[in-house]
């Protein structure tokens, strides 16, 4: 027992019943008389539109067509979530200069979906093909053909310590080059948005989004409307994984509705969601590590190139987030992180679960295993020697690491996984077995970064002792709402089934910077806890004033003198006789941004004939500070492992020399399904993190961070290979194992 009534328990989530009954409705399920918008997108990776003939389409009943010629040429950046962030703007609502397959040329509107799609097929577009740019190493030279802003690439640098001295003094220098691919988020709900011109000049935008006020901001930067006239309402979300963090179709939909004075609904098919939204950013990185004789890291140098895709989007932010993780996992006395984001004629990248962490940990953790092989260090011992300790400072001046329990994670995990036994590869017939692991860190909000971090909420305890928590919470399926419910239940004693948590509506909600940066528990959850605390403080204070006796709290209400009064009755009496409601507002600014930590262990069996990898055994160990809902935390980890195995082995949105995508649907884009999913054991380290609600910190993003490197390390140990370019598909393995052809004499 942990001393809590609800925290750390396993309560079923309240929305599950409706979801099991099919009654939980997503945006595309809601009745609407809106015009249906079908996107006309470019079939070519790089082309200019010579002519666009819409006459035939307009002959269909009720059809309207908006092309790039009708749209404003205002440039914006879809990854900007606050006015003045000044992320380089290079995207327009629609374009006559297509920069990737799937780029938006026109929006075809009709009274129904079928007519809209029929009309789209009748629009005749003549394109003039331009040279595509798909390779990272030539992207800078081709940048002027893609964009006329004169920017070749977007550099970023992080440096501290005497890097050159560290490398000159090193006993060993090891280097690796590692690349990761574009990954599709694959939320099962495809992208959709509804915009409705409403009363008083307000434009309502209904969207399954992750950052309510970010949507509002980007729309306001394009339409001639103040923020106060744009009401963004978060609809039920069928998964997001970062894919609904950037503002993709909302500005176009809002503009069309505003221009036509009609409600407009844009609904996308899987193909559009894959090639016309955002991806995990692909990157290639070279890392060098300087070591002393004992295997202590003296310094690290990085040279990273990130593929932003056709528009910069939030990719530069992702690139910088990658670099900032580096000094928060190992003690690195000197670091130079040189990176640049380049634009190519491929699907734009952006936020994706982990926000660069899976990429940079793929680089560092695969490389760390390579170091151990080259210098004959045990990978556990090597890491234990170099990992950060609790309350280490971040050498870049960013937030203190907090109660960083990565060493506990590794020691507990290595013992539970029986690393000492499993570390030796084995083979039987054509199968080879090996084990590997990877360590990782991720953040908890934005404190001590260049971004601000604030969450506002209010809590009202009602006259019957139930409660409503009002906040811009974004439930994406990850149990944000049930977690807030448990936090309020624990702080107030009100049972969870009598608590309602509202979700995002920009017209009524206090400001919150949204579901990003793994801040949902540490920042938003703490705001909820403070609401609960302060509401109970006010209740007790008012009760003492009203009854003029000391007041104590008990499970069934307030103990006033020797009488127990239920909370609801106390609230009623206080409202009537003292003229105040038990309604408190909290605006919470975090005072730290500690690291969350984790280690994942995997054992794989590789079929050397087919190249097929089977993940046979899996252990995830996480330093979560404290689990709010144990089942919610486990659910995040299970799903994250599924996503990470995909990144390691099979998920790949690549582009051929002409810029054509390798996949447009799940027939070619391979997700891990149930037969390929291993059983996953979980160990949680719960040592508490100051500043988080009941000591809790993030889990949703970090849980997918170490998966791919853990599996790649296991494969490389099993096969004695040095595979470093993800994904490690069967073809990659078969090629790696193929004996070199005999040299002709």
């Amino acid at each position: 027992m942990n001393g809590f009534k609800y925290i750390g328990g396993r309560l079923p989530r309240e929305d599950a019943r409706d979801k099991a009954r099919g009654r939980f409705l997503y945006l595309a399920d809601l009745p609407s008389d809106a015009l249906h918008g079908a996107l006309l997108t470019s079939p070519l990776a790089h082309a200019s539109v010579v002519s666009i003939d819409v006459r035939e389409a307009l002959e269909l009943r009720g059809v309207r067509v908006l092309t790039f010629e009708d749209a404003p040429d205002t440039l914006y950046n879809s990854g900007e979530w606050f006015p003045g962030q000044n992320d380089h703007p290079d995207e327009t609502l629609l374009t006559g200069h297509a920069r990737h397959v799937g780029d938006r040329i026109a929006l075809i509107l009709a009274p129904d979906k079928k007519t809209a799609r029929e009309a789209r097929d009748l629009v005749r577009v003549e394109y003039s093909a331009l040279p595509p740019s798909v390779e990272l190493h030539t992207a800078e030279d081709l940048s002027q053909t893609l964009h006329c802003d004169g920017v070749r690439s977007f550099p970023g640098k992080i440096e501290y310590g005497c890097v050159d001295a560290a490398f000159s003094a090193a006993a060993h220098v090891e280097s690796s080059t590692i690349s990761t691919q574009k990954v599709h988020h694959a939320a099962l709900e495809t992208h959709a948005v509804l915009a409705v011109p409403s009363d008083n000049g307000v434009l309502e935008v209904y969207t399954p989004c992750q950052i309510l006020f970010g949507v509002q901001h980007v729309i306001a930067s394009i339409l001639p409307l103040p923020l106060s006239k744009i009401r963004v309402i978060r609809t039920n979300v069928g998964g997001a994984f970062g894919g609904k963090q950037e503002v993709v179709f909302e500005p176009l939909c809002a503009w069309a509705a505003h221009k036509l004075g009609r409600a407009v609904f844009i609904d996308t098919a899987r193909e559009e969601t894959i090639i016309s939204t955002r991806t995990r950013a692909a990157m290639t990185g070279t890392v060098e590590t300087a070591l002393d004789d004992d295997g202590r890291i003296l310094g690290r140098r990085f040279d990273v190139t990130m593929d932003a895709g056709a528009y910069l989007t939030g990719s530069r932010k992702v690139m910088m987030a990658m670099g900032k993780k580096i000094p928060r996992l190992y003690r690195i006395p000197a670091l130079r992180y040189d990176a640049k984001a380049v634009r190519t004629s491929t699907t734009p990248a952006g936020a994706c679960r982990g926000y660069g962490s899976p990429q940079i940990h793929a680089v560092t953790e695969i490389h760390t295993d390579m170091i151990c092989r080259a210098l004959d260090f045990d990978p556990v011992e090597f890491r234990l020697k170099n990992l950060v300790h609790p309350f280490d400072r971040d050498p870049t001046g960013a937030a203190n690491l907090g109660n960083a329990r990565i060493i506990d994670c590794l020691e507990r995990g290595a013992a539970a996984f029986k690393w000492a036994e499993r570390r030796t590869p084995s083979s039987s017939g054509r199968l080879r077995r090996g084990a590997g692991f990877a360590c990782c860190t991720h953040g908890n909000g934005y404190y001590k970064t260049i971004y601000h971090d604030v969450s506002g909420m209010s809590l009202r305890i009602m006259e019957d002792g139930s409660a409503v928590l009002r906040g811009a919470v974004h439930e994406l399926g990850h149990a944000a709402v049930p977690a807030m419910t448990l936090i309020i239940a624990e702080t107030t004693g009100i049972s969870p089934d009598r608590i309602t948590v509202t979700e995002g509506d920009s017209l009524y909600d206090k400001y919150d910077i949204g579901c990003q940066a793994s801040r949902g528990i540490y920042v938003v959850g703490e705001c909820a806890r403070l609401c609960g605390e302060r509401a109970m403080e006010k209740l007790c204070r008012e009760a003492e004033a009203l009854w003029d006796r000391p007041v104590r709290r008990s499970e069934s209400g307030l103990i006033i003198g020797d009488e127990t009064i239920p909370i609801g009755e106390a609230v009623r009496q206080i409202e009537m006789k003292r003229g105040t409601s038990i309604d408190v507002t909290v605006e919470h600014r975090p005072e730290n941004n500690p690291g969350s930590y984790g280690v994942h262990f995997a054992q794989v069996a590789v079929d050397t004939l087919s190249g097929i990898v089977r993940v046979e055994k899996y252990l995830a160990v996480h330093d979560v500070g404290r689990a709010i809902g144990r089942n919610f935390v486990e659910g995040q980890i299970y799903g994250a492992v599924q996503m990470g195995i995909g990144m390691a082995l099979c998920e790949d949105l690549s582009f051929d020399a002409r810029g054509n995508p390798s996949a447009r649907n799940f027939d070619k884009y391979h997700l891990v399904n149930a037969p390929d999913m291993p059983e996953v054991e979980i160990i949680l380290i719960e040592e508490g993190e100051e500043g988080g609600p009941f000591g809790a910190k993030s889990i949703g993003e970090i849980s997918t961070v170490p998966v791919a490197p853990a599996i790649v390390n296991a494969i490389n140990r099993a096969l004695d290979t040095e595979l470093t370019h993800l994904p490690i598909t069967p073809a990659v393995i078969v090629n790696a194992l193929r004996k070199p052809a005999p040299t002709p004499i």
């Binding site: 599950a16 694959a186 099962l188 998964g239 899987r270 486990e634 994250a640 599924q642 027939d667 399904n673």
Partner: protein, 160 residues
């Protein structure tokens, strides 16, 4: 033309032409919103319905194929507001996160347990191979189906 079929135990008639997909007839003609499109090519299983007891992807099935058939969606599983054992088990075993795949997943499980009341975990995995879930990693779903099977077996063998 009108397609006559049985939907969740009741006679139903809905308009469709030769190009109408079953998913569109159910969503637009019959008001069944639990049948959702995740891919449109029969790869993700979100649009699964039972046709004469077999799970099929309604996004790649012509509506006219439902003529004279018994079609079950997740709305047809509950009795007088009481959830089916599989639905209940999904709720209590944390098999539901975003919920988008849930109706299709439950119907696939329903078909499995009708055919095989005591499936192994491996058989459960194989049966839901065509249903993609991005949230749960399948593990709680497999647990839920296993628990529903056990509960159904207990109820069927309990003395009256």
């Amino acid at each position: 033309m009108d397609v006559h079929f049985t939907l969740n135990g009741e006679n139903m008639s809905a308009a469709a032409d030769s190009s109408t997909r079953l998913i569109d007839m159910l969503r637009e003609g019959c008001g069944i919103k639990s049948v959702r499109e995740g891919c449109g090519v029969g790869e993700c299983g979100a649009c699964t319905v039972l046709m004469n007891g077999d799970p099929i992807c309604s996004c790649v099935t012509p509506a006219v194929q439902a003529r004279g058939c018994d079609v079950t969606t997740v709305e047809g599983l509950e009795t007088d507001g009481e959830l089916d054992a599989i639905q209940e088990s999904f709720v209590t075993n944390d098999a539901i996160q975003c919920g988008f795949c849930t109706p299709g997943m439950i119907l696939t499980a329903k078909a499995l347990l009708a055919r095989n009341p005591s499936p192994s975990r491996e058989e459960i995995r194989r049966s839901i191979a065509g249903n993609i879930c991005r949230c749960t990693g399948y593990i709680p779903i497999i647990n839920a189906i296993e628990a529903a099977a056990a509960r159904t077996r207990e109820e069927n063998t309990a003395p009256l």
